[in-house]
Amino acid sequence: MLKMINVSKTFYKGTANEKKALNHLNLTLEQGDFVTIIGSNGAGKSTLFNAVGGSFLIDSGAIILNGKNITTMPEYKRAYEIGRLMQDPMRGTAPSMTIEENLALAFTRKAKKSFFALNGTDSAYFRDVLSTLDLGLENRMKTKVKNLSGGQRQAVTLLMCTIASPKLLLLDEHTAALDPATAQRILQITTEIVSESKITTMMITHDIKAALALGNRTIMMDEGEIILDIKGEEREDMSLNKLMSYYSNKKHKEFSDDRILLS
């Protein structure tokens, strides 16, 4: 359903800081895939999401979503099909608007045409959806989002990303800024929503244990390339230690390469 063909992106081209963020990357996702993505800082994970989401245009290659070429489509148009959740809970919601208004805004893509953004039918639906979070937010729909905690805000953002049934969901370390208990809860809500609505999902995480436990496929990135792509039996057989050693081996090799270069 998502196809990235030979995608490259270089930042600061022609300067000393030139950085190949994506290097001839190829990736194909099947309908309903839940892919976890791991890799060190600067491996190109977020760049991959930004390329799919349309924060910038890629230098070369093509991105196909559901048979449609979205390579040059502007960001806001892609958002019809792609829901995105960032690490910072402050980024995904409008702080001085109420929970209800935020949801209405996100629901615009799918809502029936109506003169006022807030109406009885939609509000009842929002209340139902909010109650699935089990955070008591269904009784606080008129509360401004800035008065919510980080975890609550992220939960609302998660709903906003999925309420209009996007084709693809991109989660960029969306629990990293939360305390462990809240992070656990948000992760739980995420898996519930994803398994229920069967949205194809990619999730970046630094929690390697979660990366193996959640979803059906795991990708490891490094230097803008996919260096490991496992699913099915191979993934079940993969232990934490094996994955770690695979990763450090790769890093170690590079390190010795560097040493050769410098000596």
Partner: protein
């Protein structure tokens, strides 16, 4: 009495401009300096059309002209990525020439002897004697109510969200460039309308009358917020009009008791805005100084 009536009328009419400024400064969170130009533009268009004998059409065309000016500023900001403040200044500067051109190269234009919406209204309700006030009230409160309805629609919600969190708007499949342009157009349409109304009210149009309008409008919005508090959009819009009335009354009183000469108006407006905007940080500095003193005393 005439002092209060006069201030009320002026306050209500300039309140329409404050509505426009509330949209751009408060809702869109954009410092829009187009206003100085689009106010004079509304005045120029208003005067020229009023002279042809169409006072109502003059208001509508002034609104249209203002909205086009806002749209140009919006396009400079979004499509050409010129800094928001500079975009406003560029349009404002360009409009000076355009306004002179509209008025046929003259710096001011009198509409004395022509039918205006105010003379129309006076003939409509002869016995009341407060036709001007009534009309100003209907237009400004009507404008505030229409806007408060617009900001409850999906487009209105999207415009509010754009000023609140642009990132989120883009990822909610809303074209933030579009909502910004629409918001700036709406804001400047109201500014243009206010320009045309003031022209018909004082019976002349002057190319220089737009200067300082941003600050006066902002002062009104801030006074309104100080009195009524920062609450929802509907209350915000109405308090902008109320703030404009209070501003006019303060100015009229101060002029009446010869506190300062009439040319001091703009300095006073600037000072009001400065004081109001710096309030929170001055309070912060005072609190800090207090803590420092206490710590010092504690150490002794």
């Amino acid at each position: 009495m005439t002092l209060i009536t006069g201030s009320l009328q002026l306050g209500l009419l300039y309140g329409i401009m404050a509505l426009g400024i509330y949209i751009t400064f408060r809702i869109l969170n954009l410092p829009d300096l187009t206003v100085d130009g689009s106010f004079a533009l509304g005045m120029a268009v208003g005067a020229v059309v009023t002279i042809t004998g169409h006072p109502v059409l003059a208001l509508l065309l002034a609104m249209l002209a203002g909205s086009i000016a806002g749209l140009v500023t919006g396009l400079l900001q979004t499509k050409l990525s010129i800094h928001p403040i500079l975009s406003g200044i560029l349009v404002m500067t360009g409009l000076y020439t355009i306004n002179l051109f509209i008025m046929g190269g003259r710096a001011n234009l009198s509409v004395v002897g022509n039918e205006t919406v105010f003379t129309l209204m006076e003939r409509l309700i002869v016995q009341m004697g407060q036709a001007k006030t009534a009309l100003a009230l209907i237009l400004s409160i009507g404008g505030a109510l229409i806007l408060s309805v617009i900001f409850k629609t999906r487009l209105g919600l999207a415009i509010r969200a754009t000023g609140d969190n642009e990132d989120m708007v883009r990822s909610s499949s809303i074209n933030a460039d579009l909502t910004k342009c629409v918001g700036l157009s709406m804001g400047n349409a109201f500014v243009g309308l206010a320009g045309a109304l003031i022209c018909q009210y004082q019976m002349f149009s002057d190319v220089g009358s737009g200067s300082g309008m941003v600050v006066i409008g902002l002062a009104s919005v801030i006074i309104g917020e100080t009195v009524f508090g920062k609450r929802g959009v509907t209350i915000g819009l109405i308090s902008a009009v109320a703030g404009s009335i209070i501003y006019r009354i303060i100015i009229a009183m101060a002029l009446k008791i010869d506190l300062f000469p009439s040319y001091a108006l703009k300095l006073i407006s600037a000072v009001i805005v400065m004081v109001a905007l710096s309030g929170p940080s001055i309070k912060g500095l005072m609190d800090q100084a207090k803590i420092r003193r206490e710590v010092k005393n504690h150490l002794k």
